[in-house]
Symmetry: C2
Subunit: 234 residues, 2 copies
DNA sequence: CACAATATGCGAACAGTGCTCTCGTTATGG
DNA sequence: CCATAACGAGAGCACTGTTCGCATATTGTG
């Protein structure tokens, strides 16, 4: 966790507050890993920390705010997993597959966090700006592979129905300044991102039961298909 | 609702029981449409029906069982939407797009039901046999378009990484006896089904905010891309 | 240093929830 | 006709998120 030196806690009280805020989040996260988002109980978190349940409200205004903090953390976690799995020196196809596998491993190890991010949204959550930035880290890691391949002149887009530029609002050039993406390329990357999350949702939520015989293998196949569609060579 | 004539209610009590069972489900569904799965309250359902909350338990053993009944109903609903949107006499591409649009309209009109089916699973979910049959209706509608195109010799599979047959457990021939699907074709249909659900999840859960400029248009584009990948002509 | 302002922790309380159990009442089948 | 089974109602249990008032501890300031 990065601490802004300008806003560093100066008094003992502020220091204790920062620490307890993190401890509450950590306890909530432990509980989340065990019981899932819908069963996350503020009172149980308070019990684990041996404090009154009402004291939690000095640090988080509501259960939803605590969940939002967990969401932010989880977005950064999956972003870390994606970026950590990427080896920029490798071949595009290998980079792509490694990122996909990295995200899958994170999702299998943290299914409740994954559900928190990509499953049914919790009742009254309103994604703040900070969240959308963290949320973009994982898909950006995918996009970077495509961008690098394009910069190297290695992008090979297989034929497919074209995407009307008017359908896309996202300006990829803002996020990856050194590359210019066409609407078609942007759309293909978006679909790859959606595919990665979609296939993991299916696997984690049991929709592939009796359908696939080898989930890991089918996942790798899906990664290859998506990579090829996004224009990665071989 | 189909009533088995062999198990038709014979006594007044059985008749009342069947009716009340349906009324409870209907009230639960009304409530589901308003507040979503996680906030569905058994007691509120009982209030709406002006009965004691404990009386509900004579008809559904638990809240989860009531939710399971709602899941079954929702699977059949989306199956109805898909089948109802399909015009077997139309061109494959048109059939495909119509089914996709039909499912999207259902999902937009019933977001909580959609979340119930394809979002985070509720606590103790145990999908009975009946559920998986109902769940297969929508994807089967997609598969039928591909099967018919193949039977007409119109299937044009664009090049893509091959799918190892060992990865697939589903035997499509069991579901569509008149056509023989290769593992590759089966995989492509599976991915199309996953794509349809995935893109709708993104749209409904707000993951496309600031990304797409025209959700309906992007959805149609996604349908075309998926149809082409599944081998539908034009 | 003294003091007012503020931050914090606690316990009680409120309105909910799912669910169980008991207890009369009512309908059913032998 | 009567024992049995089903049923509805209500009380109660163990929870939940959240609010409120009160006591205590820590501040910045006069």
């Amino acid at each position: 966790m990065y601490t802004d030196p300008m806003n560093a806690p100066r008094t003992a009280r502020e220091r204790a507050r920062a620490e307890l805020t993190r401890e509450i989040l950590a306890a909530a996260r432990r509980q989340l890993g065990e019981v899932g988002p819908s069963a996350l109980s503020l009172r149980a978190v308070a019990r684990e920390l041996e404090m009154a349940s009402s004291a939690i409200y000095r640090y988080y205004k509501s259960r939803d705010e605590l969940l939002t903090a967990l969401i932010l953390e989880a977005y950064n976690d999956v972003g870390d997993a994606a970026e950590g799995a990427d080896d920029p020196a490798a071949e595009p196809g290998e980079r792509w597959a490694a990122i996909w596998r990295g995200v899958r491993e994170w999702a299998l190890a943290n299914p409740h966090e994954f559900a928190l991010l990509y499953g049914t949204p919790v009742p009254g959550y309103a994604a703040p700006q900070e969240t959308s930035l963290a949320a973009s880290r994982m898909p950006l890691t995918l996009a970077r592979v495509v961008a690098d391949a394009k910069a190297a002149g290695a992008l090979r887009l297989p034929p497919a129905p074209p995407c009307d530029p008017a359908l896309i609002a996202l300006d990829m050039t803002e996020l990856l300044p050194e590359t210019v993406f066409s609407a078609d390329e942007t759309a293909r990357v978006l679909l790859a991102w959606n595919r990665l999350v979609g296939i993991l949702s299916y696997e984690l939520h049991g929709h592939l039961y009796g359908v696939t015989a080898d989930d890991a293998g089918f996942f790798d196949y899906t990664a290859r298909v998506s990579g090829a569609f996004a224009g990665l060579p071989d």
